[in-house]
Symmetry: C2
Subunit: 196 residues, 2 copies
């Protein structure tokens, strides 16, 4: 099989850790739990592959932050019209949530357990992302394409509207990702589009 790019143990540990952190929360998840899940008898064995527990959280948080940064970067440059941009951003969120359910849950809910230098770095990235999203919304409001409303309320309502997918979605549902995208975009955007 050409597709047998064997995963390194390190990678397995990171993936299993994401699942563990999602299931129990970062603080409640122990390194002994993690050792069990990857088939090691001792928690100490993990340290042949990783530096620390927090290193795992750092990687998960920063990797996901990068996904969103790169996503919005591309949308700003290649998509024209604020309506299409917001639609693309919604799709970006939904697709990441469906593709990387576990790591996006950790990214969403466990970032606060990052310690000082990394916490600030993470918050700066998030602030930057929200700012760029907000600017698109404000532009749409100014142009009359979006409903006149507080832009922060619009921003956070949108950002949170998908935050159940990574928790709820399973591939064997009768509902396809495309159908979810369509329904959510319709629900959100026909409230955002000005039709006075």
């Amino acid at each position: 099989m050409a597709s047998t790019l064997k995963k390194s143990k390190k990678q397995i540990i990171f993936e299993e850790a994401a699942r563990l952190f999602k299931d129990k929360g970062y603080k409640a998840a122990s390194m002994r739990d993690l050792a069990d899940r990857v088939g090691l008898e001792q928690a100490s064995s993990l340290y042949s592959h990783i530096r620390s527990k927090e290193e795992i959280l750092q990687k998960i948080c920063l990797d996901n932050a990068s996904k969103f940064s790169e996503g919005i970067q591309e949308i700003e440059q290649s998509v024209v019209g604020v309506g299409a941009q917001v639609r693309a951003l919604i799709r970006l969120h939904i697709r990441i949530a469906i593709k990387d359910t576990t790591s996006v849950t950790v990214f969403n809910d466990e970032w606060r357990h990052l310690s000082p230098p990394y916490l600030e770095e993470f918050l700066a990235l998030r602030h930057d992302y929200e700012d760029r999203f907000r600017k698109i919304i404000e532009k749409g409001i100014d142009q009359g394409e979006f409903r006149g409303m507080n832009s922060a309320v619009a921003l956070y309502t949108l950002l949170n509207a998908f935050r159940w997918i990574h928790y709820w979605y399973k591939p064997d549902r009768e509902l396809s990702p495309e159908a979810i995208e369509k329904d959510i975009i319709n629900l959100l955007l026909n409230g955002l589009a000005n039709k006075s």
Copy 2:
């Protein structure tokens, strides 16, 4: 002052614990932290007033669950028309989030640390609430008042759309609770109302 209904120490402990659990998360919050916040030198002193750490979490979770149960109960009985019912439910969520910011955060994010008998009880209450909310949405879809879409997608998108308020809202914002209500209802409901 007639308004001096002195809070019992127990009540102070519960309120301060909610704040602490919100700030650091249930697992990361220690009883020593809590003792500090209520002005006790020793964590052991807390046990003159409370039975256990989890007792606090149980009360916070069940109290808030009751608020939502009672809220939807009243709406089902007194509000006519699915459109008005959904509007009332949105207002219910926003008002609780603004009134009890700290405890609603704990209720939302920390319930999973409840242990066996209480966890199941909590999940049953939540399932019941979601079911009743979903039935209203389905009725609206059937009657043609709401957009034709998957009712679970609609339910969870609505339920999560406000989940930033308890984190973001501060009384000194230039934005009044009424303005937030208006904006969110407009944003969400004009996407839900069928206008073909």
